[in-house]
């Protein structure tokens, strides 16, 4: 479990996060949602330590990450897998070398063992046999799946996905969402997904945190988000004509 306690963050005097408190639960897909520019990615970067919080604490299974020295943080970071919005694959390395990178860096596995693990991870994301390709030779969807394969290579306890569906078509997005959900359940990870894609919310949202104006505005699950009467959430969830239509159908059914 990851606990965020009274987290505050500002940049150049402008408050970006104000007093955020939340628990990201183990074995569940935890979503951070909200409109662009509300502080979702900043919160995620604060949690993983890419940004230092101004106030508050981040606890990984009770371990206070905020007060740790660099060396201690490195140990926690070895338990974290992250899929970046732009995937962030190392473009000078092949797919295989990308997935193998954390294994060579942090384990004492033999070459054969690492190869087995790479093949397993690639198979898990349905990309068997693509070992020797370079990231530039892969499509956007493939790159996301390679990013997931690299993120799970070390069997992480915590998985972070920053807008995993950005730039993908709806069908591929569903594949990626399904993969994240399955992997989370399979390895009992604490998964945190940053998204503003309503499809993802409905597909995989088990514990949702809605951020608005840098504050925790609402939290709940995918069922309760569709029935809440919070005006900010309503304007976010039912922003598109399609979702508005769904809402009217749901209301008709109820009456």
């Amino acid at each position: 479990m990851i606990e965020v306690k009274h987290v505050m963050k500002s940049f150049n005097g402008q408050q970006v996060l104000s007093d955020i408190n939340h628990q990201f639960e183990t074995g569940k897909v935890n979503l951070i949602i909200g409109q662009s520019g509300q502080g979702k990615s900043v919160l995620a970067k604060c949690i993983v330590g890419l940004y230092e919080v101004d106030e508050g604490q981040i606890l990984f299974d009770g371990r206070n990450f905020t007060d740790m020295e660099r060396f201690e943080r490195s140990q926690i970071r070895e338990e974290i897998g992250m899929l970046f919005q732009g995937v962030a694959l190392f473009d000078s390395l092949t797919v295989e070398q990308n997935i193998m990178f954390p294994l060579t860096m942090f384990t004492n596995m033999t070459k054969g063992e690492m190869q087995k693990r790479v093949d397993f991870c690639l198979d898990r994301v349905n990309l068997s046999g693509r070992n020797k390709l370079f990231p530039a030779e892969c499509s956007g969807g493939m790159q996301k799946r390679i990013g997931i394969a690299r993120a799970i290579a070390m069997n992480p306890k915590y998985l972070f996905c920053d807008e995993p569906n950005s730039g993908l078509d709806p069908k591929t997005s569903i594949v990626i969402d399904g993969l994240i959900k399955d992997i989370t359940a399979e390895y009992n990870m604490t998964t945190v997904v940053i998204t503003h894609d309503m499809n993802s919310v409905i597909e995989i949202g088990q514990n949702i945190l809605f951020i608005h104006q840098g504050k925790k505005w609402w939290s709940g699950d995918k069922d309760s988000i569709l029935t809440t009467d919070n005006p900010e959430i309503l304007s976010f969830v039912y922003a598109s004509e399609f979702m508005k239509e769904i809402r009217s159908i749901m209301q008709e059914k109820r009456t």
Binding site: E78, F84, T104, M105
Partner: protein, 247 residues
Amino acid sequence: MKLLQNIGKYTLMLTMVFTKPKKWKIFLSRLINELENIGISSLPIVALMSTFIGGVIALQTASSMSNPLLPKYTVGYITQSSTILEFSPTIISLILAGKVGSNVASEIGTMRVTEQIDALEIMGVNSLNHLVLPKIIAAILFFPVLIIFSMTLSMLGGWMALMITDLTTTETYVLGLRAFFNPFHITYALTKTVVFGFLIVSVSSFYGYYVKGGSINVGQASTQAVVSSSVAILVANLILTQLLLLS
């Protein structure tokens, strides 16, 4: 004020760079890659520049030799001394600041804006040590090789130019090259080269590592890296010359 801030940030960066690598095997493999990227790939431009400039130095010196009191071997002597003292260590380092500096800044800058450096940090890797240390060590190890190569080709270029124009004989030119040769000048030149190599790669890495924004900013960082490392070379050249030759 900003200069002081940058110097402080640069010093802090170096403290992160010079830490023990997590895995020596990975460090060595990256070092070999960097020796090729930074060193071996620079051989053609160093060869081209050195040969031609060496030729020009010899021809210019020969054309100024109207005074009959000057011995004929002066052409060789001046080619040798200007090559060893200044042209090879300083001018070639300035050229390498353009080639290697822009390459290092844009490579690291692109990794920054595409979140590859964040990915390394999230994994628990000291990204500065992982990315920058092999480059600095490669430059320190290979720049002296490049400079010795440059000195040789420059003097060879001078000989070729003089032979083609028939301005002197091989014997006279070689006599000049050997005249008043001070072996300490080689030590001086190589010491300067090691310092310049360190400055080029560390200053360029600094601009690449702390870039913010997108491709335009990476381009600007790359230009800034070349300008700043060139200035650093000129300042260091003055200080080292004072320290090594005049004190």
